[in-house]
Symmetry: C2
Subunit: 237 residues, 2 copies
Amino acid sequence: MTKPDPEAGPAGPETRKGRRGRPPKSEGPSGTSELILDVAEDLFSKHGLHGVSIRDVANEAGVDTALLHYYFGTKLGLFDAVFKRRAEILNAERLASLDAYALKAGDALTPEGVISAFLQPLVEWGEKGGPGWKHYFALISQANANPVWGGETMARYFDDVIRRLIELLRLALPGARDEDLYWAYHNLSGALTLTLGETGRLDRLSNGLCRSGDLRLAYANMARFAAAGFRALCARA
Amino acid sequence: MTKPDPEAGPAGPETRKGRRGRPPKSEGPSGTSELILDVAEDLFSKHGLHGVSIRDVANEAGVDTALLHYYFGTKLGLFDAVFKRRAEILNAERLASLDAYALKAGDALTPEGVISAFLQPLVEWGEKGGPGWKHYFALISQANANPVWGGETMARYFDDVIRRLIELLRLALPGARDEDLYWAYHNLSGALTLTLGETGRLDRLSNGLCRSGDLRLAYANMARFAAAGFRALCARA
DNA sequence: ACTTTAAATCATCGACCGCTGAATTAAACG
DNA sequence: CGTTTAATTCAGCGGTCGATGATTTAAAGT
């Protein structure tokens, strides 16, 4: 993370550059703090917390480093803010999607249906949410692989939805032992994490036969794969 | 990564501390460069490349930072050396395990068998290889989630074994389309990555019902889960 | 109109970063 | 035994890091 980038374009309208003090009211689509979050999200998702300096973020966003401290306090505060921003939206939609499916399916819950409902908001945000959501997913993917702060962070933000998911899977797989349900979820979680990363690894390995950017296909295959896995793990004496 | 640790114990025999020059021949089990690699492996696996300074490694290993440059040149050179050290051992064993299974099974290859053979060396090293191997696995897990250098690194070190795995799975699932085989592998790879991390996430989520440290169980469940997934994905028109 | 507050830059501080050249000590080699 | 080479610490260089206090500008409140 060291890009000089000394003169990135004509620097916007009337080259207001280095001008100190509060800027005149602009009708821009979203505030400066959102812009900073977008940039930080992008960089953190690619290089991790320690791979990005606040100078990197400030330069890329075209603001002074002091402004990041003004809004977010510390570097860790910025990171947390990035993590939190979309978590709430995502969790609300995933819970709603699961509840809607449970209501619709009544007694006829299937593992495929539950898992698809769980994944659906990810597909939609990934496809229609713009690049910010893809960066966010990649960030989650990295957090899930981190043994130090990852576990705690993931638990804090996402355990509620996951418990609801497992609850519905328990209904869809009557007689399943809880232990097996959790182990099966562990495998699904790993597959999901890798998909969220969109690292392009599969594209290269398959010589272009599979495109990890095809989210709809990726998630459909994951639901089918995992549903079969759940059945196999949970249907034993 | 900032630990003071000003006086970690009595500093060994006769407190040879700050003593300059080549040390007298010691009958220690392995050389200083191996010790440095062990420490670096541990720290990198927990905090990532950018989360660890060469001073951190040097302090933890009880040597001067200049010694790391003497052995490994740059920080990246140290990281690569850590990555490479065990990759060769692991790959040789995984290929041998797959070949042995192919020979034994003849025409009666099963997905469970192939996947178990693929996973077996991981179980054994994880159980009997000491903490170094666990740190190494966690490092791989993080590399696999990294979108920048992870994909290239993983491909360089591990693609050979993976191609052999898919080849055998193709034989075990006659009629499967290559595209489906790759997508199924993608899901297995994700599950494996998460297991390798041993982040303790499942332990907490299941309130202690599942212990991610139980490698034998984790890998047995993964093989069963993934084999069913492969069948489900590959057995369609 | 005056005051207060919000939003921004500037200049800088002390700490830490990766890395290097010189010195030192002991082993290996002849 | 003398020379070369391997293994180590020391001292420090130039650069970057996260963070802060002072200052400036414009909006908001009264």
